[in-house]
Amino acid sequence: MQPHDLQTIASKVQAVRGKQRTRLMCCGSTACLSSGAEAVRTALDQAVKAQGLAADVHVGTSGCLGLCGRGPLVRREADGEPALTYHDVDAEVAAQIVAAEAPSAPDVTAPDLTAHILPETHPFFARQHKVVLALNGTIDPEHLEDYIAHGGYAAFARVVTTMSPAEACDEVKRSGLRGRGGAGFPTGIKWRAVLDHPGERKFVIANGDEGDPGAYMDRTVMEDLPHQVIEGMLIAGYAVGAQQGYLYVRGEYPLAVKRLEKAIRAAGRQGLLGANIFGTDFSFKLDIRIGAGAFVCGEETALMASVEGSRGVPRMRPPYPAQSGLWGCPTLINNVETFANIAPLFAGGAEKFASVGTEKSKGTKIFALAGKLSQTGLIEVPMGITLREIVFTIGGGIPDGKAFKAAQTGGPSGGCIPAEHLDTPVDYESLRALGAIMGSGGLIVLDETSSMPDVARFFMEFCADESCGKCVPCRVGTVQMHGLLDKIMQQRATPADIEKLQRLGELVKRTSLCGLGQSAPNPVLSTLRYFRHEYDALVSEGQA
């Protein structure tokens, strides 16, 4: 394939699509599939066939449409009309949706469908800013040509044919993109470190071992935009001088694995992966490695050990992967969402990318909204948006008239942010200052009925269970902390136990080997910081 062949493919796809007036995209993401999207898709197909609308109406499968709490979802795009989303669709509603497309039918906003319609102007959609997920809802995840038709692989073609690896690294550096896995390390600097480190063999790894409870940003990106991830890895591979990439995917994500496999095969067939891509010297091979259910394998050194076939346990850094990674070779390891940012970044340029976000946190971030909210689902927001906007505007506030108590970000590694900090902008530094972290994008909202020590206990149980056991603070400390939280919840604790919990939390945080252990006490320490009274109450009630 040559770069101009991309245009040829795009034209072919557009030639077919251009004749159809309406596009009905049924969400094919895991959440909607689990609420019956497959039946909806079948019903849409049958109705179009039955009503003879195939020439006018295209029915397709899309990626996640975001409002996962109200699935199955169907997105409607029609020439000259604003797009809208049908929610809570079933087979019957699907038939009505198609019926409304018949030339003689009344407007789609007929009364029997209005209860299922959310316009694009709905705050859930309106306040979002889609860069990574821009093509979700528009393209079919399993269709390479669809991605190409929407500009896919053009950024990579431009990079590999017109830029030097160093220029590509600099472009990323100028964009201000930071790692979306949670720690927020500047991506361009990481790339440059791998490029500059001597070595004939280098590797690129996409970390798709998303493990935080309630988080599914990476799953969605892998399921819905597999080619966007691959394109990001290709650009990275070129920029750092790697010849081989690995996609490390959580074992619990079979759909992501299936779609990535399909995408890798399709890209390979088109010559987008393999030897001498676009006729250049650049060759790149990509393989999938499936995790075996260990949370710690999301930690980069543990992940690499796992790829090498060893037990997935972290090791000390330095050396960093950029110096000595996979099989001792310089290795670039980025989160899946980071890679998904790369093609849009290069497509629009570093300046455009950097025009969104705050001074130190550029671009957008995907969050999985969960918990006590009217609207839960997957959102992409500009960096710097306040928590209040996310919770009350996009999330629609707390249902049943309950009061907001806390937002938990970063899952088991993160912290709880109380109401008084709701106006904090969402960026790496601000969240850290609150004792929470940006994390990979899990965001759980708790209302007044939640017990914060209980929340802390839940996460501590998770960490104790997921500790790899290599270092003693994490292996034994998390179990001891969980024991103390149990004691507190059972109202058997003394004030000294709370002090011990605090001291142990500091020890585990300061002395653990890897990020898992170092952040495991965060839910405890942040709830002790903001909700100490709840702990004290449990102790004094118990003693009374």
Binding site: K470, V479, Q480, L507
Partner: protein, 958 residues
């Protein structure tokens, strides 16, 4: 060097050093539980945290690489609190039953609990692991004491290369396990006990140690292992006259803390009830002498048991042996006596032994099993370099860039050297293996060339061809240091990789790859210790697979050619390295227990040298005709040219080829005296058996495969009336000297006047030796290479020969600036196939060798309870293809037949041998491999028979 400050002390250390190592090297102690100087840092115990100026959080010093100007504090209030809390967590998960614990006093956790004043945990006591596994007689695994430091799993992987154990499950529930938590014996464990060695707590203990006393009640006795030629130093913890357990120790020059299964666990043979404790005279002879009332005769196929001997006093036995040998001299001359010295005995034992034969009896008929192992190495390297021994030191192996191993199953035959190789591979070296069998090293090899048996010579020659063709030769080295290159270069012109591929079955491109890898010293990954030099460092290692061949000398020459043409010699981590088989086979050869050379490889045919030695021994001259080799001795005994034999610590009835012939020969002798620790197969044919001390009971020195002369020290009392070999030889010397005085009169230079000898060198007359130390010092006066190796200099580290003077430090690398013979000599070598080729009648090739759990003829290892438990019986390895063709099931009885004899054993179907090849170890008396091997074709230079390979057929036994 990098300068930094630790606790206010300014230190200079090498770049790349960790803060922990820097501190420890300067006597600044930092607590640590998962660190081991020979393992990669783990960072799991979090005790070695230190404060670094400018860093917000304490960092583990084991993973902290020093930087210039770094300021480190190892002690502070904060660190004490963190360490105390961390230890508190450790002991929350560890029983504090130190009052009854076998590890108390040697337990690292106990030490730190003491240091930090912890009596019990302040947390909830919660012990996660309770498994107690005693599934083997080597060591127990008591998981409740395990602190998951991971040292055991790392040593198993990083040093031993067995990777039998790993931490499984996760978090608090994680524990050390074999695959699927199965019994140890079903894992890849080699029972070396390195895990036990590094375990900081009582989680891993030797079975022999359990409830045998507190650590502080045990004595420490150090000596050199008596099994293979690696020469590991072992520390025995003893109580009274009993070994409680054995361990390595960090200062041990060859092995450090690591040992193999035989060294660590195979010492119990010494107190086996079968040990010989009194001199024995066979009943027929005893009856003749009136020592036994009843007449008795050994049947034609009968072998004597202990009951067939009469125990006698030492004087009786010694007088009898001396008289019998003297009678033989009188009747048929000194050359009708032959003798076998022992590669397991000390230098002092062997020196006296050959001196007895040469100086007192007057024959050069002294040889030993080196004839059957590295004779071709000795002859080949003598031709190429002027002397034959391992050119480089064992500890250099870990730094090599490329290791070329061929004809050596190092993992099983020289386990501790294989640990060095594993370490090299783990740090990025290439391992090039040429071997027909899938030996354990194949799992670590970056390139394994699986040759058809006997065709490896083609690969070596083709490698030389490729190196020349591609310009990978070191022309500078060739020009400056060698001769005969042009003729050699012509000789390999036609041996293309394609030709070699046809003969050997190895693809031509792999041969090219091998040539490049070796010649240029290429690494697989990582940074070379020798970075910056024009090429990396490659070393060649071989053993019996090369030497026990009809063209063994030429095989060795072809390897020497490769080393010379690439300049892979004369510098660290390179060289040609024959791995010697027995604990003192190097020393036994050095001592001149060979028919053609005197101590120090001085040829008996070299009159000035011979006479110089004679003079030191108080004689005018010594026999000048080379004596008989092992195989020649057997032939000579068969046709009665040899009438009497004296065998010290050798077992030709199992170790020599074509055993039926050996037995016939020994039975024809008029007199056979065997000096042994057990009633070996050979002793069962002896007239007199002299009970000797084992290695665990004696003083003296041994010379290991890297030429290191090391001191032995008694660990146990020698049982019963048994005596050290040197004492027995000296006592025979005294007696024979008297008996043969008349015969030897003409050979004397001076009358021995004890008073007159005062001014002469320290050569002892009249066989009056008070201690091995005296003999050590006498050896120094006779052997040039040992000139500086005197008893008082040996210490813990020993000395590596050549050591030409008492102020010389010893020589780690041979031929460093010039070869022993001056210029290294290339030899044009032609490929020669094995003598026996598979045919319809004998379609399979038999390869012989060792297994890791046994040693040589098994006299010691098969009497060790744990070793016997692990590998109790004989077996033959056969590929599934051949087994199926012959209707053989796994573990079923089979009979192996060759042109010489047959052996019944049990089949073990295995992928370790390719189709067409079977493997039978030579340890098994009940299935002696050497019943099958051939002695009819020997290497023309070294006289070593080709008993690595012969053809056989295998049949199922119904």
């Amino acid at each position: 060097m990098i300068t930094l400050t630790i606790d206010g002390q300014t230190l200079s250390v090498k770049p790349g050093t960790t803060a922990l190592d820097a501190a420890l090297a300067h006597d600044i102690d930092i607590p640590r539980l998962c660190h081991h100087p020979e393992l990669k840092p783990s960072g799991g115990c979090r005790l070695c945290l230190v404060e670094v100026e400018g860093r917000p959080n304490p960092v583990p010093s084991c993973g902290l690489t020093v930087e210039p100007g770094m300021v480190v504090r190892t002690q502070s209030e904060q660190l004490t609190a963190l360490r105390r809390d961390t230890l508190d967590l450790f002991i929350s998960d560890h029983p504090l039953d130190c009052v009854t614990c076998d590890k108390a006093g040697a337990c690292a956790l106990q030490k730190y609990a003491y240091d930090y004043g912890l009596t019990e945990t302040t947390f909830e006591k919660n012990i996660s692991r309770t498994l107690y596994q005693d599934d083997n007689p080597f060591f127990i695994r008591d998981h409740k004491y395990c602190i998951l430091c991971g040292k055991c799993t790392r040593v198993c992987d990083e040093v031993v290369g067995a990777h039998a154990i790993e931490i499984v499950d996760r978090g608090f529930g994680s524990h050390v396990a074999t695959p699927f938590d199965g019994p140890m014996i079903d894992s890849s464990c080699v029972f070396c006990g390195s895990c036990v060695q590094v375990c900081p707590t009582a989680a891993l203990l030797p079975v022999s140690r359990l409830k045998q006393g507190r650590e502080w009640e045990l004595d420490r006795k150090r000596t050199i292992c008596g099994y293979c030629g690696v020469g590991c130093a072992i520390e025995y913890r003893t109580k009274g006259n009993k070994i409680v357990y054995a361990q390595g120790y960090a200062e041990a020059p060859v092995n450090g803390e690591f040992l193999c299964t035989k060294g660590r666990f195979g010492w119990d043979f010494a107190q086996h009830p079968d040990r010989l404790t009194r001199p024995l005279v066979r009943k027929d002879l005893a009856h003749q002498l009136g020592l036994s009332a009843e007449p008795w005769a050994l049947g034609p196929t009968q072998r004597a048991t202990l009951d067939d001997f009469v125990p006698v006093a030492w004087d009786v036995a010694l007088d009898l042996v001396a008289t019998k040998l003297a009678e033989t001299v009188f009747a048929s001359g000194p050359d009708s006596i032959a003798s076998l010295a022992s590669a397991r005995c000390t230098n002092e034992d062997n020196y006296l032994f050959q001196k007895l034969m040469r100086a007192t009896i007057g024959t050069n008929n002294v040889d030993h099993c080196a004839r059957l192992c590295h004779a071709s190495t000795v002859s080949g390297l003598a031709m190429a370099f002027g002397g034959g021994a391992m050119t480089n030191a064992i500890h250099e192996i870990r730094d090599a860039d490329c290791l070329f191993v061929t004809g050596s199953n190092t993992t099983e035959s020289h386990p501790v050297i294989s640990y060095e190789m594993v370490r090299a591979v783990k740090s990025g070296a290439n391992l090039l293996l040429v071997d027909p069998r899938r030996i354990p090293l194949a799992e670590h090899a970056t390139l394994w060339l699986q040759t058809k048996p006997g065709t490896d010579i083609y690969v070596f020659l083709a490698m030389a061809h490729v190196i020349l063709r591609e310009g990978w030769a070191d022309q500078g080295f060739i020009a400056a240091r060698t001769e005969g290159f042009a003729e050699f270069a012509r000789s390999v012109e036609l041996v293309t990789p394609e030709l070699a591929a046809l003969e050997s079955g190895v693809p031509a491109d792999k041969i090219v790859q091998a040539a490049r890898m070796y010649a240029l010293g290429e690494r697989a990954s990582g940074v070379s210790k020798y970075a910056g030099e024009p090429r990396g460092h490659s070393g060649i290692f071989w053993a019996m697979g090369i030497t026990q061949r009809r063209n063994g000398t030429e095989m060795v020459l072809s390897l020497a050619n490769l080393a010379m043409m690439t300049g892979q010699l004369s510098k660290p981590s390179t060289g040609v390295n024959p791995l010697r088989g027995q604990s003192n086979v190097q020393g036994c050869s050095d001592m001149g227990a060979l028919p053609d050379v005197l101590p120090g490889y001085q040829k008996v045919t070299d009159a000035p040298k011979r006479q110089a030695v004679a003079e030191k021994w108080g004689l005018a001259d010594l026999p000048a005709e080379p004596g008989l080799t092992v195989t020649e001795i057997m032939a000579a005994a068969h046709d009665r040219r040899v009438r009497s034999m004296y065998v010290m610590g050798e077992n030709p009835m199992l170790s020599d080829p074509n055993l039926e012939h050996v037995e016939e020969s020994l039975r024809k002798l008029d007199f056979l005296a065997v000096q042994e620790i057990f009633l070996s197969e050979t002793a069962q044919l002896a007239h007199v058996v002299l009970p000797a001390s084992s290695w665990l009971e004696k003083d003296g020195t041994k010379t290991n495969t890297e030429r290191r002369v090391q001191s032995l020290h008694p660990v146990l009392k020698t049982p019963g009336d048994s005596k050290p070999d040197w004492w027995i030889v000296a006592e025979l010397g005294k007696r024979l000297e008297g008996l043969l005085e008349r015969v030897n009169q003409r050979r004397r230079t001076v009358d021995e006047d004890p008073a007159a000898s005062g001014s002469r060198p320290a050569v002892h007359r009249h066989w009056n030796y008070a201690s091995p130390a005296q003999i050590t010092d006498e050896i120094a006066t006779v052997s040039p290479a040992y000139r500086g190796i005197v008893h008082r200099r040996l210490g813990e580290q020993g000395l590596v020969w050549p050591c030409p003077s008492e102020d010389h430090p010893g020589t780690a690398i041979l031929h460093a600036t010039t070869f022993t013979r001056g210029l290294g000599k290339f030899h044009a070598v032609a490929a020669r196939p094995p003598v026996e080729q598979p045919d319809a009648e004998y379609p399979l090739v038999l390869s012989t060798g060792r297994v890791i759990y046994h040693y040589h003829t098994g006299t010691m290892s098969r009497r060790s309870a744990p070793l016997h438990w692990r590998d109790p019986r004989d077996w033959v390895e056969i590929n599934a293809v051949d087994a199926q063709a012959a209707g053989i099931a796994d573990a079923s009885p089979v009979v192996i037949r060759s042109r010489r004899g047959e052996v019944k054993t049990q089949a073990r179907i295995s992928e370790h041998v390719p189709p067409g090849v079977i493997f039978l170890a030579f340890h098994w008396a009940e299935a002696p491999a050497n019943m099958l091997t051939q002695d009819h074709t020997v290497d023309p230079y070294a006289k070593i028979p080709e008993f690595k390979l012969c053809t056989v057929r295998v049949e199922a036994v119904n």
